[in-house]
Structures are given as C-alpha cells and as structure tokens.
C-alpha cells in the first residue's frame, strides 16, 4: 500500500515537471490490474486486501478536459477459516474449515476531468455512477453457499496517465478510488496498468 502511495506521489511530481508538453487526448482506453481493500460489511466477511482483479476503462473526450466513458471491473478475494465446530440447531454439529470468497463486478458510466490536458503526465479526477454485483461464497467441499446482491454504485476516483514517450500512444495508468454501493460492495480499489490514447 505504501509503495502505491509513493509511486502516485512521484508521478504527480513528474506531472508538474512535464507540464504543458503533451498531446491532447480525444479517446483513452486503459487495462488494469486491480487490487481492493474491503470496507464495511465485506470486511467482516473477509477483512484482508484482495489482489485478484482486472479493470477496463475507456473515455471519449468531449472537451480538452472532460471525458465521458465507462468502467468495468472484476475482482475476487479469498480467505480460509480454520476448522471449527458450528452448531446447526440443537441437535446437529458440524466441524469444518470454511473457504470464503467474495466477488465484485462493478460497472459504471464515468465522468472524467483532466486537470492538465496538455501536460505530459495527466492527472485526473473521475466520478462514476452505475451498478455493482457482489457475491459472498462459502465453500465446504463440493457444497457452495452464496449470497448475491446488486446495488447502485457511486465511485470517486483519482489517477494519472504517464505516457511512455512524448509522442507515444501507450503509457501507464495508475488510479485509486472508492466504491460506495447500496448493497454490501464497499471497497477501496487501486488500479495499475496500461492505457492507449488517441490524440
């Protein structure tokens, strides 16, 4: 986590130093590896950070600063609970290990604002609105118990685009955001990946 912050700050500093030396984007597509930290109810189910996720994002610029697009993610998180005794009613007891999984699929329309559209490293803030699917699974041998829900989703996000060269269409995308949802799918997420831009 600390590393991600350090990289983000370093890139922001770089963004300032490269100000006013980049292409304006008309479209941008990014493909990211996503990790997430569950918050609220999901954190009670699995408290640890999950590193299994992917993200796809695109935006079409309607002005130099403003892009409208969409964002799709998928991620899962797992934890094994050591065997213990569970009482089912008064007359049944089960001793088993629980294999827990959560799965998140947020999908949202996204409004993105670039603070420095002509900068080499571009810094943005984004807001997303959409829906998210959240499922909790408990696996005991071949039995799987699940609890699924859909919720309305709102997601603020900040990020940067760092091109690989002054005239390169490709570059690195780093972003961090917060998924707030009406179901239990609250989490902080961190994206690291590649982007492709159309000038």
């Amino acid at each position: 986590m600390k590393k991600i912050y350090t990289i983000a700050i370093a890139l922001l500093v770089a963004a300032t130093s490269f100000a006013q030396s980049g292409h304006r984007y008309s479209q941008v597509y990014s493909f990211n590896w996503q990790s997430s930290l569950p918050l609220g109810k999901p954190a009670e189910f699995i408290p640890s950070m999950g590193f299994n996720g992917a993200n796809f994002n695109f935006g079409f610029f309607v002005t130099d600063n403003i892009a409208i697009g969409a964002d799709f993610s998928w991620g899962y998180n797992q934890q094994t609970v050591d065997p213990e005794v569970y009482n089912i009613g008064d007359n049944c007891a089960v001793y088993a290990a629980l294999y827990k999984t959560t799965q998140n699929i947020p999908m949202k329309a996204q409004f993105k604002y670039l603070f420095n559209p002509t900068g080499f490293v571009k810094v943005y803030a984004a807001a997303g609105l959409g829906a998210t699917s959240y499922t909790e699974y408990i696996q005991i041998q071949e039995y799987q118990f699940s609890d699924s829900s859909w919720g309305f989703l709102m997601s603020p996000e900040v990020g940067i685009y760092v091109p690989f060269g002054k005239h390169s269409h490709w570059g690195a995308n780093v972003a961090a955001g917060y998924n707030w949802a009406t179901n239990k799918a609250q989490n902080l997420y961190f994206n690291v990946g590649l982007f492709f831009s159309v000038f």
């Binding site: 005794v85 007359n91 799965q103 999908m107 041998q141």
Partner: protein, 224 residues
C-alpha cells in the same frame, strides 16, 4: 471491433459471476468434515450396553456389500473406543432374552455420483434380507431376523449440508434397540458422518481424530 471486444468482455464478466470455485477447491474437497446428530428427547442414561457390527457396509454405486478388512477393523476399533469412553459397555449375550441397548452400525460410501440423504437408500433391509449375517453377531441364534423388517429412522431433521454423502464418507448410526418393538421402526438416536475420511492418503491418526471429533462435539450421551 471495439463494440465486439466490449461485448465479450462484459459477457465474460457476467458469465463468470454465475459460479465461482475457490482457488483451494481441491483442498476443501480433501478436508475432513465431521457431522453429528443427536436425538433431542432421548434419555441416553437408559442405555448401558452396545454392540457394533463386525463389518462395514460398503456402498459402491448400486451395490451394497459388507466387508471386513484392516480398514474396517481400524474404524470399528476407534468407534468402539469412543463408546467405551462415554461409559457404554460392550454387550455380552448371556441368555436368549437379553439384548443390547444400542446397535452401532457403520457404512462406507465408496462412490456415489448423486446427492443422497440418509434413510432413503442404503436399505436397512439388509437386516431383513440377509438374516444369515446379523450385523453384530453373525449366525447368532439368539437374534433371528425380524420378519416384519427392521427399518430404523432418524427422529430429527437432517440438514442437506450436513447429511448428504459423497465418495469416501463414513457414517456411524446408533440405533435404539432397547425400546425396539417388533413391527416398529427403531430410532437412530445418534448419527455421525465424516466426509472424505476414506479417500486420499489420510493417515490412521487423522481418521481417528475425525471420528473422535464426531463423538466429542455432540456426544451420544446425556450432556445437556
């Protein structure tokens, strides 16, 4: 092209959300899961003696065969130890009218491909049809088969998660024989199940611990 890519991405995400197996799925299959049921209203203090089948019913698909080998002897020994620890005594017949208070029977699910619930299928009627092999005392003249059949039942709800069997499961049924009357169904006052105990490479110590877990977490004894 972009639209096609997007379609497949979204579709795969949606399809992927329908089921999700844990990364450690094989590990969860191999783990022991011990289950125990105990009849609520039963006064276990009325039981003093028990007998245990000297063989185990092997359920292999549609075939039910009783077997005796090193493994069955080992399992039987562990179960008998647990009964003795709880204060029950092995029954020793001393006259034609005496009978044990409890019958302990063991089954091993060798293979099954369907979800099966206890009481429906493995045919307690083997006691009816195979009277030449009485489960605890073969050829014992004191215990001829009961012409009306002998169909024990479970006097408590069976939860699917805790009662369906899979390949490699061991079941332990303790039947109330003290209160059994001809042409009635005796109650299975305690039922133990260890899933996956007889598959893979589990050691005898692990098997013993899993069986012991059944008896310890919900003992077939008055502990309330």
């Amino acid at each position: 092209m972009k639209k096609t890519f997007l379609f497949f991405l979204v579709t795969s995400l949606l399809v992927g959300s329908c089921s999700f197996f844990n990364d450690d799925y094989q590990e969860t299959l191999d783990q022991f899961v011990s289950v125990a049921y105990r009849a609520d209203e039963t006064d276990f203090s009325q039981y003093k003696t028990y007998v245990i089948a000297d063989s185990i019913l092997y359920v292999d698909g549609d075939k039910n065969v009783r077997k005796k080998n090193d493994l069955t002897n080992e399992v039987k020994s562990v179960v008998a130890d647990q009964m003795n620890t709880l204060g029950y005594s092995p029954f020793i017949p001393n006259d034609p009218t005496s009978r044990p208070d409890l019958i302990v029977d063991l089954s091993y699910i060798v293979t099954t491909t369907t979800t099966i619930y206890p009481g429906y299928w493995w045919g307690w009627d083997y006691w009816y049809y195979y009277d030449w092999f009485y489960p605890y005392y073969p050829y014992d003249p004191y215990y001829p088969y009961y012409p009306g059949g002998f169909y024990p039942y479970y006097p408590y709800p069976m939860y699917p998660v805790a009662s369906s069997y899979s390949t490699g499961s061991l079941t332990i049924d303790i039947v109330d024989f003290k209160n059994y009357k001809k042409d009635t169904n005796p109650a299975i006052v305690w039922h133990g199940l260890v899933r996956s105990i007889l598959i893979s490479t589990h050691s005898s110590e692990e098997r013993a611990a899993a069986i012991k877990q059944c008896f310890e977490m919900m003992p077939p004894a008055n502990t309330k």
